[in-house]
């Protein structure tokens, strides 16, 4: 288990994850980020507003960025249908 932080990129800024989460490995952190992006996208879609964030930056507990997950990776290919 390691502690992973999911910082959210918003435009030129970032919403810091202050606490992090204990997860098995980076693959588990990636799954968390995908699920979280879907939830954030779904909430903005329902509210009829543009998403605040564009990607998750996954870092370890000393601040090294391990992986960046663009929100586009969280939705199936071809979604939305009109795109």
């Amino acid at each position: 288990m390691s502690r992973f932080f999911l910082h959210q990129q918003i435009g030129t800024g970032i919403i810091e994850d202050p606490d992090g989460t204990e997860l098995a490995d980076l693959a588990a952190a990636r799954s968390e980020a995908i699920l979280a992006a879907r939830q954030l996208l779904a909430a903005t879609l329902l509210a009829g507003v543009a998403p605040l964030g564009t990607a998750f930056r996954i870092s370890d507990d000393v601040g090294n960025v391990l992986l960046t997950i663009p929100f586009g990776d969280a939705v199936p290919d071809g979604f939305p249908a009109s795109a």
Partner: protein, 238 residues
């Protein structure tokens, strides 16, 4: 065992019940610390004690065998845990655990039941609390399907604020995510947004309520009815 004097008791139910009702329960009140994480009621396990909170907050949580869970309600100095025992049940499916540490009184279930048999006013006061708790969980259901995560979070923070002293609530994002059954970054984002509106200040492990009135307005009728019901039927609260 020395009995606590009614006028010094901070639990709202114990302080509003009449003298006869208090006399029925007081000999059985055992002061206890309520450390964070302490399980007061284990789902599916027979009740042993009810707990009257003086300070601190307990969460009533429902879960599946594979670990999915959500908070169904919370209780603090306005109530007690283990109230299913007042309704003739020997156990309940929900688990109650301390989420913000505090202190209170515990009372053995048999002693609580017999105190209620001796004092009708005590029994009725406690049952009115159960009624208010049911309205709280009903509004939780409404809020869960009707509100954005920011709205649900606002309602939840108000409910915590009613039950703590001062404006600081000590909670991690991870804990909030479990309580609201959302992914943790959704909590972080929702806190970021309502902090941006100026309603709260969020620091690691701590949230400060800055503008309560604005938070109530933002919670949009999902907060306030059970609390008004408590004041109408029982007494001061929050």
């Amino acid at each position: 065992m020395p009995q606590p004097t009614q006028s010094f008791v901070r639990n709202c139910l114990l302080s509003v019940v009449d003298a006869e009702g208090y006399a029925a329960i007081a000999p059985h009140l055992e002061p206890v610390a309520l450390p964070k994480g302490l399980v007061l009621i284990e789902g599916g396990t027979p009740f042993t004690h009810a707990h009257f909170f003086n300070t601190g907050i307990g969460s009533i949580v429902v879960s599946t065998a594979d670990g999915r869970q959500v908070e169904a309600g919370l209780v603090g100095r306005e109530g007690l845990s283990g109230f299913g025992s007042l309704l003739g049940a020997d156990q309940c499916p929900q688990t109650t655990m301390v989420q913000i540490e505090g202190e209170g009184y515990r009372v053995a279930i048999e002693a609580l039941r017999s105190a209620c048999r001796r004092s009708r006013s005590l029994h009725e006061t406690l049952l009115r609390f159960v009624h208010v708790f049911i309205s709280q969980t009903s509004f939780t259901a409404l809020s869960n399907v009707n509100q954005s995560i920011e709205g649900r979070l606002a309602r939840w923070l108000l409910m915590c604020h009613d039950r703590v002293t001062g404006d600081d609530i000590s909670l991690t994002h991870e804990f909030l995510a479990i309580m609201l059954a959302v992914q943790r970054p959704s909590v972080t984002t929702a806190l970021h947004m309502i902090e941006g509106y100026g309603f709260i200040r969020a620091r690691r492990g701590n949230i400060t309520i800055v503008d309560r009135d604005a938070l109530v307005e933002f919670a949009d009728e999902m907060y306030g009815v059970p609390e008004a019901e408590y004041r109408r039927l029982i007494g001061p609260f929050g």
